[in-house]
């Protein structure tokens, strides 16, 4: 772990060229996106399992703190995507190395060009929403909900550390040992190296579509707009409930196929695998102790499997209180 401090301070001290900064931004944006995906998959699954919790989560997403985070998130996704494309091209065409500095600058320029109109539109949604004089969830409430996620992370990593420690005792390992040195070449490494590139390309249109729909064309604020159009469908969010919004999308059929469930499912699987394998690469760079490294790797496998499981369970279960059901409710009550 000590080398993470060295790496951070020396990256700041070493006068590397722009490629070094591309790498820093790629890592930091990737880590930020993975963190958000963890929260987002879990709380979106609440739309299916705990509708009230989901409404609370969306209310928190509409608070100023998350709005600031939303701008950073969109910037991180756009940078990670465009820079990833640069990495893929240079990996396939190493002889173009002399163009890499210009390519790295071009990435920053393209990201800027994409982000300016995107931020203008996003800011427009913020202003529209603030014009309605909304009530925000308090910081204390947000802290309370997010603390549960933080505790969840600590519990998972802690449990993995304890199990890894027990494994060390069972195997009779010395707990201060570093991870073994030269290991055999593994087909898995090669497979995942390719997977990171292919999945990156596949995620690119999916995630840009998702961001365009949920953050640019309409804002996070419009999810709870009563009588608002549900994007990607011909339905209207009658009740103005975030749960109905998700239900409408997931139940929307094109030629009998729930297209948005497939879309979200593809996004879920690809992003979780891509993100958690990226996390594994970062962990393996800096966690050299055998017990700690194994624990973090277990936590990553468990985390990825858990998120995919929770996310697909929600997609399969679906959301019941669609517009129709809600309308019937209202009719029955009156």
């Amino acid at each position: 772990m000590a080398t993470i401090v060295t790496t951070v301070t020396e990256v700041l001290r070493y006068r590397g060229k722009i490629g070094q900064w591309s790498w820093v931004f790629h890592r930091v944006s990737g880590l930020g996106i993975v963190l958000f995906v963890c929260l987002h998959v879990v709380d979106t699954s609440w739309a299916a399992f705990y509708p009230d919790l989901y409404k609370q989560a969306i209310a928190e997403y509409q608070s100023p703190l998350f709005t600031i985070g939303e701008f950073f998130l969109v910037a991180a996704v756009v940078y990670h995507a465009i820079n990833g494309y640069r990495i893929i091209v240079l990996d396939r065409r190493p002889h173009l190395w002399h163009l890499q500095q210009r390519a790295a600058v071009l990435v920053f320029v393209v990201v800027g060009i994409i982000l300016i109109p995107v931020f203008v539109l996003m800011f427009g949604h913020v202003l529209d929403y603030y014009d309605t004089d909304p009530e925000f969830v308090s910081i204390a409430e947000i802290a309370e909900t997010q603390a549960q996620f933080a505790i969840g992370f600590v519990v998972i990593v802690g449990a993995a550390l304890i199990l890894s420690f027990l494994q060390a005792i069972i195997n009779g390992e010395n707990i201060s040992d570093p991870i073994p040195g030269m290991r055999r070449a593994s087909q898995l490494d090669i497979w995942f190296w390719k997977f990171m590139r292919v999945s990156g390309l596949l995620i690119l249109p999916l995630v840009f579509g998702h961001l365009a729909m949920m953050h640019v064309i309409m804002g996070v604020f419009d999810i709870t707009a009563a009588g608002g159009d549900v994007i990607g469908t011909d339905l209207v969010n009658q009740s103005g409930s975030a749960v109905e919004f998700v239900g409408d999308r997931w139940n929307f059929l094109v030629a009998g196929v729930a297209v948005w469930r497939l879309y979200d499912g593809a996004l879920l699987g690809l992003i979780v695998l891509h993100g958690f394998y990226g996390l594994r690469l970062v962990v393996n760079d800096y966690a050299h102790n055998r017990v700690v490294n194994r624990a973090l790797n277990w936590a990553i496998v468990f985390g990825a499997a858990g998120l995919i499981l929770v996310g697909s369970a929600a997609l399969f279960a679906g959301v019941e209180n669609t517009a129709e059901a809600l309308l019937q409710n209202i009719v029955a009550r009156s």
């Binding site: 990996d91 030269m182 070449a185 050299h288």
Partner: protein, 238 residues
């Protein structure tokens, strides 16, 4: 002109941690090289300053150090390229990622261990060529690995790599360059073995194409390109 050196000093017998020493030299010629000026510091001001150098002409690769924040050979750096005006400030420190023995001298053994790991020697396809004479090669085939024959094992590239700083087990750019020199040599018969070694988790996959190594090379080897070609060769064959 005047030059003020700020040099990272460490004597394991006396110091608990490294410290910066400052030395000002007068009557410096702009085309003096950093190595000559370090000699002047040692000879005129502080005889305990320790550094490694042999040929002093950019061939042996013993005086790699971090000069003004970038890995360079001290013997190839003209002081006038490090600043403008009558008074230039130069910061010198040991290359990073290898244990410091004293001042600017680092232990190169871990670096050479990685070098040895890729089997950096000719392993012929057949013991004796068909005609019993030379192992012939077309100019085009020779050109294929010409760039990577230029490496002098100074460690400038490997110790400029954040992946190597993070994990000293990473085989590093220099060893991959050396492997590239044999992998793409049509006369060599051990490409598959070398590619197998470099496909290990601490092999080429730890390269994140940060590109610090390429501008650090005093021989202007296209280091990241060579690493990229080895990555492709692992997947597609040579």
């Amino acid at each position: 002109m005047k030059v003020t050196f700020r040099i990272r000093r460490f004597n394991p017998e006396k110091d608990s941690k490294p410290w910066w020493g400052e030395y000002t030299l007068d009557n410096v010629d702009p085309i003096d090289r950093v190595l000559e000026l370090l000699h002047r510091v040692k000879w005129e001001q502080d005889g305990t300053l320790t550094l490694r150098r042999s040929c002093a002409h950019g061939v042996c690769g013993s005086d790699a150090m971090r000069i003004n924040g970038v890995n360079r050979l001290a013997c190839k750096m003209l002081v006038k390229t490090l600043g403008a005006g009558d008074h230039i400030k130069v910061q010198v420190e040991p290359i990073l990622g290898l244990p410091v023995i004293k001042d600017l001298v680092v232990d190169m053994e871990p670096f050479f261990d990685h070098y040895r790991a890729v089997m950096p020697y000719f392993m012929p396809k057949e013991h004796v060529p068909a005609d019993g004479r030379e192992r012939l090669q077309s100019p085009a085939d020779r050109e294929r690995f010409d760039d990577t024959t230029k490496c002098i094992l100074c460690a400038c590239c490997t110790t400029s790599c954040p992946s190597f700083w993070a994990n000293g087990k990473y085989v590093g750019p220099a060893a991959i360059v050396q492997a590239h020199r044999f992998i793409f040599d049509t006369r060599d018969g051990a490409a598959a073995q070398r590619l197998n070694i470099l496909a290990e988790p601490d092999g080429v996959w730890r390269c994140r194409t940060i590109f610090n190594c390429t501008p650090a090379c005093p021989r202007e080897i296209e280091v990241t390109r060579a690493i990229g070609e080895v990555k492709l060769a692992i997947q597609r064959g040579v």
